[in-house]
């Protein structure tokens, strides 16, 4: 059964490697369309920006640029829509955006997209997956963008209502409007509870998955789902925040599964990225396409080889062996176009993990069944390498050549 699954995975990986350059922007394009149409349906006050060509154009740009651009477009679009009906609310919204950016979003540039993902997914009740995913793939600093997403989600609702109000150009009206908006935001227990629960979920998932016990990753996801459900139930009971219990439980579970799937895919995608690089030396120009190995059993076989030399204690040879691990005798070299099978750098990061398993395998030769130990023993395992492990790895390498420190200092 496991073998079949692995084979399927390998097929998916190989296909993905080939179509990656189309799939990634396409997914982003579709998501961008979702974001912009959601904004247009919710706040479509300005008919100039609700047209299909505009949405498609913005989505196309967002598809090929970093996610920050998508967030910028989304923010700009909401502002333009609100500006069309109510200048004062637009100013207020801009002000809130600046504060949100300065206090929450700027600390995690990689995760700014969360600010739009949460409001969009919330329409399908799938926003519970975001904190679980953040906890399982990143660190607690992602609490900040997640909070931002939750605030934006509630803010849009409040602003939508406020924008519809008739406001005369006098102090009383404007102050009254601002007071209303802030009252609604501050007294929004649903928002505050959501922030608290999401922050808890991220922390719990992150904390548990860092442990080294078996299945810690799956347990962390389960704990995340549980905290999510319990958190919202308590909020429901204590603060009378209306939550549909059935939907909450089902969607939380579904979100857990989605988070697991996304995390799994992310891990795979990080590994399978085909790299094209160019460089030169005195004799040649090289145009290298580095294709990460997806064949896992092959790596497993190398593992034993590596270990023995490490145990032998010959340091220099040990270094050499690491090189040989990558050695692929039947690579086809053409004149200037080198097709090389190469492990991605990301995979390299997991070496300390292999290292441990290598020792374990040597001690217990019965466990060297190449087909099975894969799920947990290699880079595709359920755990991310935590810092301690990396530390070990580097220390290990430091021992190998002593002049390392001096080089590092330079």
């Amino acid at each position: 059964m496991i073998t079949i699954l692995l084979e399927i995975r390998e097929i998916i990986l190989k296909t993905y490697q080939k179509v990656r350059f189309i799939v990634n922007p396409a997914v982003k394009f579709l998501f961008s369309i979702m974001v912009f149409s959601a904004i247009n349906t919710d706040l479509g006050f300005n008919p100039k920006f609700t047209g299909v060509p505009i949405v498609l154009a913005m989505a196309a740009v967002s598809a090929v640029t970093p996610s920050q651009v998508l967030v910028l477009f989304a923010a700009g679009l909401t502002l333009l829509h609100i500006y069309a009906v109510n200048l004062f609310v637009a100013i207020l919204l801009l002000l809130i955006y600046v504060v949100l950016y300065a206090l929450l979003l700027r600390f995690s540039p990689k995760h700014v997209a969360v600010a739009v993902v949460i409001p969009v997914l919330a329409k399908y009740n799938l926003h519970y997956s975001v904190p679980i995913l953040m906890g399982s793939t990143s660190n607690p600093i992602t609490i900040l963008p997640t909070i931002c997403g939750v605030i934006v989600y509630h803010l849009i609702d409040v602003v939508k209502v406020a924008a519809g109000r008739e406001v005369e150009l006098n102090l009383e009206d404007v102050v009254g409007l601002y007071t209303d908006v802030f009252d609604q935001l501050m007294d929004n227990y649903k928002m505050i509870m959501m922030i608290v629960v999401f922050a808890l979920v991220i922390t719990v998932v992150w904390f548990i998955r860092r442990f080294s016990f078996d299945y810690s990753f799956q347990i962390s996801l389960g704990a995340g789902v549980l905290v999510n459900i319990l958190g919202f139930l308590i909020a429901d009971l204590k603060y009378d925040v209306t939550v549909s219990v059935g939907t909450l439980i089902i969607m939380s579970l579904l979100s857990g599964i989605i988070a697991m799937f996304c995390d799994y895919m992310k891990r795979i995608l990080d590994y399978t990225a085909v790299e094209r690089v160019q460089f030169e030396d005195d004799d040649y120009y090289y145009y290298v396409k580095a294709v990460p190995k997806v064949n896992i059993s092959l790596r497993e076989m190398d593992v034993k080889h590596f270990n023995r030399s490490a145990i032998d204690g010959d340091e220099y040879e040990y270094e050499e062996e690491t090189e040989d691990e990558d050695y692929e005798p039947d690579n086809a070299y053409e004149q200037n176009d080198v097709e090389e099978e190469e492990e991605d750098l990301d995979v390299k990061e997991y070496e300390p993990k292999d290292f441990k398993s290598r020792y374990a395998l040597l001690e217990n030769p019965d466990a060297t069944d190449a087909g099975t130990g894969i799920e947990t023993e290699d880079g595709y395992s359920t755990e991310l390498p935590d810092d301690d492990r990396e530390e070990d790895y580097y220390e290990e390498e430091m021992l190998l050549d002593d002049d390392e420190e001096t080089d590092e200092e330079k």
Partner: protein
């Protein structure tokens, strides 16, 4: 004659430079202290701007009350309150920023160390190729 080991090293170096390297090289221009302090400053400025905006909003929010009680308000106490809160918020943010950015710096340093290690190996290959050192000679 193509040297596979050399190509392998150069490929890894090139991939690193293309991806994570960019960021790491930027960080490498600073000393750790300078980098974290610089980031802390930026955070401080951002927090200050945000706080000023929030105070402005709060003033509008309470404008009615402020105008009505313009002569009865203890401005000194209010000012102290606002300043105190500002210092707390600023300190929290700056401390968190310093911790996070120094962790980031340390991580990039490790990756950079690996990069230099690979570079040295490559250099060794060059030396061997040029006949300056023997193949089996230790670095």
């Amino acid at each position: 004659m193509l040297n596979e080991r050399k190509i392998r090293l150069m490929t890894q170096l090139a991939i690193y430079e293309k991806k994570e390297g960019k960021e790491d090289f930027k960080l490498a221009r600073y000393y750790k202290g300078d980098y974290t302090r610089f980031q802390a400053w930026k955070t401080g400025v951002a927090v200050t701007v945000a706080y000023l905006l929030l105070v402005a909003v709060a003033v509008i929010y309470k404008l009615e009350y402020l105008i009505e009680n313009a002569f009865n308000i203890d401005y000194e106490a209010l000012g102290k309150k606002i300043l105190g809160l500002y210092i707390i918020v600023l300190a929290t943010y700056v401390i968190i920023a310093m911790v996070c950015y120094s962790l980031k710096y340390a991580a990039s340093r490790k990756k950079l160390a690996r990069y230099f290690r690979m570079l040295r190996k490559l250099n060794h290959i060059y030396l061997v190729e040029d006949g300056i050192v023997q193949e089996d000679e230790d670095k």
